[in-house]
């Protein structure tokens, strides 16, 4: 099994039943049929706006949600849901770093306590061996060992995020799911964490599933990227290809919308309209009401499939079915 992809997601869907109005029920399709393959040592960025389903994918992969349909294979074996006995074993291999380091550390536990918990649960470490391992982990995330007996409120945001990363890598996981790991941090701190994550990946032989709404951050960390819109992947491929020559109109507009800290930037075309309600998606391509390059009735009738196009790019758009 060691040479197959580390993670394979096939036709994954997650629908939430929600109440709508007084008696009505509606289905919110947070993730609706996505396929993702993650090779060992890869870093895949999942980008999209709020409501695109990127965080739901993260929670499905880590087993925090049960999928409505489809399957997730980790090392060729299906990922069990939280609470089952098999899930306990999976905790060693898949770990997650959350967006907000302030709320993902227990305020009444010392840093030592937070990092030691997975080690006592999974490896039964105690006493001086536990202490030595925690010290080693603090060193891995470049934190001084004097932080060990401090509480989260005594640390800065960047330091807390390093603690969360130390806790996540404590059991030598193979896959690290990072859900917006730097969006709560200031840019000078974010720079340090991003550089550190890149360096850590090589050192610990990690595979990253990196979720972010910040395209520049993803470009900096990830070798591959998948762009999500309304629960679907609309474009995927090597980061440089997708960002330098986007093929899907949504990717184009998304990239053009990012304000860059450069002088004399040209005026980009703003995308009209709002993100549609995920409960009442438009028929056909979900992007068609906002799409600046809509080609006609086909966009309103048939949903384009995510497929390899003649120019070897992976895009879900009718425009790319014919040669450009």
């Amino acid at each position: 099994m060691a040479d197959g992809p580390l993670l394979q997601v096939k036709a994954l869907a997650k629908h939430f039943d929600i109440r709508s109005g007084r008696f009505g029920k509606a289905v919110l399709k947070a993730v609706d049929g996505i396929d993702v393959t993650l090779q060992r040592g890869e870093s895949l960025g999942l980008v999209g706006e709020s409501g695109s389903g990127k965080s739901t994918v993260a929670r499905l992969v880590t087993g925090l949600h049960r999928p409505t349909a489809g399957e997730i294979l980790f090392d060729g074996v299906p990922v069990p849901a939280v609470g089952t006995r098999d899930r306990h074993r999976l905790g060693r291999d898949i770990q997650m770093v959350f967006q907000d380091p302030h709320s993902s550390l227990n305020p009444r536990k010392t840093i030592f306590g937070s990092i030691a918990e997975p080690l006592t649960i999974h490896e039964g470490l105690r006493g001086s061996r536990l202490r030595a391992r925690v010290e080693e982990l603090l060193e891995t995330v470049q934190l001084d060992r004097r932080f060990m007996y401090r509480f989260p409120h005594e640390l800065s945001g960047g330091q807390k995020q390093r603690v969360c990363i130390a806790r996540a890598v404590a059991l030598n996981p193979k896959l690290l799911v990072l859900d917006e790991p730097t969006s709560a941090l200031d840019v000078s701190v974010q720079a340090q964490i991003l550089e550190f994550l890149r360096e850590l990946q090589g050192r610990l032989d990690l595979t990253y599933l990196f979720i972010s709404h910040n395209l520049a951050v993803v470009r900096h960390v990830c070798s591959n990227v998948a762009v999500m819109y309304m629960g679907r992947i609309v474009e995927a491929g090597p980061t440089d290809d997708v960002f330098d020559k986007p093929r899907h109109p949504y990717t184009e507009v998304l990239l053009a919308s990012v304000p860059e800290a450069v002088a004399r930037q040209e005026q980009s075309p703003a995308l009209g309209g709002d993100i549609p309600s995920p409960i009442a998606l438009p028929p056909g391509c979900p992007f068609n009401p906002r799409c600046p390059k809509k080609i006609g009735a086909i966009c309103e009738e048939a949903e384009p499939a995510l497929a390899v196009r003649p120019d070897r790019r992976v895009v879900a758009c009718h425009l790319t079915e014919t040669a450009r």
């Binding site: 706006e49 709020s50 800065s156 200031d186 840019v187 000078s188 701190v189 974010q190 720079a191 340090q192 964490i193 991003l194 550089e195 709404h213 910040n214 395209l215 520049a216 951050v217 470009r219 900096h220 980061t239 440089d240 960002f243 507009v253 998304l254 990239l255 053009a256 919308s257 990012v258 304000p259 860059e260 800290a261 450069v262 002088a263 004399r264 930037q265 980009s268 703003a270 995308l271 009209g272 709002d274 993100i275």
Partner: protein, 341 residues
């Protein structure tokens, strides 16, 4: 550059927060001038005092614990640090309006958009009863006109909507309409797009840019994202730990930043387009404790270019040539590159 008296002029403004541990020196000698129709962005990281600065202009800070400890804020003929509350009521919303950060928490969920917008219009009319701003329109007509001005589709229909029925971008447009209701000459936007997605952010920034051109408003735009500020403003003010460290035209600041902190800030931003995977350098260290700020430069501990004088003397904001002003003892003089990590 200096054409007549500035619209707003902040001089050596210092502000403290009284806490149980002593006075927190939040602002320390802020200088900032703004001409009518000028667009200025204030950037800086968490805790640098950018929001406190604009909130002190509108006197929206609770006093106590906040307390002016020096300097002045001159707006037109009035010093806002000493103006009476009665005068402030004629200035807030009518002369100086605010667009807040989070559109949801600034709209009342139990009233319709129309009720809230017409309340604002009525309040402005009460404050200035003899003013010709009325122009014979009913409040409802005026509300529709304002919503059309911010390009909200079907303004008549939206008046009867509740905030929860609208998207984040539409709510932000409504708050901009409210800010325009008093026909202000200065608009303060405090992180107006931070809560929005990038495609919506682009729409809102374009709208603010358009209003500036059309209505000749002066704008102070606060953001932690230099890219956002560069999109709308002509000038950028960089703040660090309650001080202004650099004040320059957008092109000058982005092409040749002078202050070591500005240089570090720009080097820390991951770039989307040019050179995607270059090395990012953060700025090691933390902001100083504002209960006992350093006597000299507040950036001293983290600065790679520090000198002995920086420890003891606070650097004044000096012109380093071409109107680019910087608070660093290395200037005036040739530009020096700060290298981090």
């Amino acid at each position: 550059m200096t054409l007549g008296p500035p619209l707003l002029s902040i001089e050596d403004l210092s502000l403290d927060f009284d806490t149980f541990d002593g006075a927190l020196h939040v602002l320390d000698g802020i200088n900032l001038a703004l001409q009518a129709g000028e667009t200025v962005g204030i950037v800086g990281e968490t805790g640098c005092g950018k929001s406190v600065t604009v909130r002190s202009i509108l006197r929206l800070l609770p006093m106590p614990p906040a307390r002016f400890s020096g300097g002045s804020i001159r707006f037109k003929e009035c010093d806002l640090t000493t103006a009476s509350e009665r005068d402030m009521r004629r200035i807030r919303g009518i002369e100086i309006a605010l667009i807040p950060q989070d559109p949801m928490s600034y709209l009342n969920p139990v009233f319709t958009v129309g009720q809230q917008l017409t309340d604002v219009i009525r309040a402005h009319r009460r404050a200035l009863p003899n003013n010709d701003r009325r122009g014979g329109k009913t409040v409802r007509e005026r509300a529709i006109e304002l919503l059309a001005q911010v390009h909200l589709p079907h303004p008549e229909k939206q008046l009867d909507a509740y905030p929860h029925e609208l998207s984040g971008g539409m709510r932000q447009r409504i708050l901009i309409a409210m800010a325009l209701a008093g026909k202000p000459s200065l608009l303060i936007a405090d992180e107006p797009t931070t809560a929005l997605d990038v495609t919506i952010q682009a729409q809102i920034l374009r709208l603010i840019g358009e209003l500036v051109d059309r209505l000749g408003l002066a704008v102070i735009l606060i953001s932690h994202d230099i890219g956002v500020v560069a999109k709308v403003c002509r000038r950028i003010v960089v703040m660090y730990a309650g001080t202004v460290v650099e004040d320059a035209l957008v092109e000058d600041l982005l092409d040749r930043p002078l202050h070591p902190y500005t240089q570090g800030l720009l080097a820390a931003i991951p770039r989307l387009r040019a050179g995607g995977r270059c090395h990012l350098s953060g700025i090691p260290g933390n902001i100083p404790n504002l209960l006992a700020p350093p006597a000299g430069c507040r950036f001293y501990d983290r600065c790679p270019l520090r000198m002995d004088i920086c420890l003891t003397q606070k650097p004044p904001l000096v012109d380093a040539g071409g109107g680019q002003r910087v608070a660093c003892h290395r200037y005036p003089g040739p530009r020096q590159e700060a290298r981090y990590g």
